[in-house]
Symmetry: C2
Subunit: 259 residues, 2 copies
């Protein structure tokens, strides 16, 4: 009986001791056998970075009850690579989940997100994968209001798989008085971060900066993740790792000279 349980790999970018991964591990234990490979330190904003030209550490961590777990010194993408090719080797996970991230990964933030890079790395390896993020930057934020939805989405992916080359970017609104309305499958909103650089001087008089900024949403329609979150649904954006702008190939071929 035990052998028929699906194998679920859990990673994240906030590090193995974060509350988000702990919550996700508990949820996934309801669905299958869980193995965790997660960064030994926070990796927020690491995008799809990988460790080349430097060494990687991988150590067992006995911090989850009844779960095989490892800390990795690298990035979220490194964690998935090490899990697939070293920790699990001949065992193929039935599902890879990443998160729950403390903070939003809607819209353009998918590019900067370590949470989603773990999921996209799994998709590159032909594994069904989901990144979960909570749109609340408070590390003590409540995490349990979307349990049913997280389990529903994971069950659907375990049952149906995902289209080839696709990973899911799931964002969850912060807990509110009104109950979460459900989830909507939608597209990435057209929005970006408008950076401001806060200039300071260190005790030696040398200048440094903090990057800060505001999120600016240019998207006025209702079929995108920003609208969905603002209306108290979880958003599910299917994401590609093939970045080709197919429509642009013919446009450029027509307009360019000297080819």
């Amino acid at each position: 009986m035990e052998e028929n349980k699906p194998l679920i790999l859990v990673a994240n970018d906030d590090g193995i001791t974060s509350r988000g991964i702990r919550h996700l591990v508990k949820l996934m234990q309801k669905l299958g056998e869980v193995v965790v490979v997660a960064p030994d330190s926070p990796q927020s904003g690491k995008g799809h970075a990988i460790t080349i030209g430097d060494t990687l550490r991988l150590d067992e961590a006995e911090i989850f009850d009844g779960v095989q777990a490892y800390t990795c010194s690298g990035t979220p993408a490194d964690c998935v690579k090490l899990a697939k090719h070293y920790v699990l080797k001949d065992r193929q996970p039935d599902l890879v989940v990443s998160g729950i991230n403390h903070g939003s990964n809607t819209s353009i933030s998918v590019l900067y997100s370590g949470t989603m890079s773990a999921a996209i790395e799994a998709a590159i390896e032909d594994l069904p994968a989901i990144g979960f993020s909570l749109c609340d930057y408070d590390h003590r934020a409540e995490l349990d209001h979307a349990d049913d939805i997280i389990l529903d989405i994971a069950k659907n992916v375990l049952k149906n798989g995902l289209p080839k080359g696709v990973a899911l970017n799931v964002n969850i609104p912060p807990k509110q008085n009104e109950r979460l309305k459900g989830y909507k499958i939608c597209r990435q909103a057209r929005a970006r971060w408008q950076e401001e650089f806060n200039q300071r001087f260190d005790p030696y008089g040398r200048r440094y900066f903090w990057m800060a900024g505001n999120f600016v949403n240019f998207d006025k329609s209702e079929d995108n993740d920003e609208w969905v979150i603002a209306n108290n649904y979880a958003s599910v954006v299917p994401c590609l790792f093939d970045l080709t702008a197919h429509h642009a190939i013919s446009m450029l071929n027509e307009s360019w000279e000297n080819k």
Copy 2:
């Protein structure tokens, strides 16, 4: 007269002292006024990482003749953000170029590439942008065989702009006896890295790993960057930063239960 010269921002991921950026700066000086903001240390494989939760340094570097240049302690994407919002402020670059990278960024490597993250970050900011990479990992490799092609592509982008939300990923074959045949606008090949983890032990008996691996190309057609490079053309892949798998939205809506 001087005022009408286009303003060209140059970034890279190998760091400001690399031969590749030096070569690109010289080429771009033929087309306009050049400003450089580049990492103060190598940032290969950093993907679309940005620096959050840590400080950034930005210092003037007088290492290019007649060119305003800065080193940045952050990632390639940080360099473009600092250049746009702090160094150039009210001046808008007419073109952003990144590279020339020492090593290939074809196919799936576009995701791991710091070179391309600088270009994609510029595209997010609505700036026409191109990443240039040489498919030769030797840091002493010859860089001059594609000068005409690099200038042609940059001139075409300066003249025609690029479709909204698109950055170009240009890869150049290594210098060969046969002259470079030209360039082809094409799509990202279906290929991935098959990792192998080389296990070693440090002088204290503790285990560590080197990530190594082979590039595996599953793509048998001729309209992709791997074929193009193998046939001694430069490849030009237009890349998107909207990752939405639009075809998958209706597929998932039809097959999923409990929405």
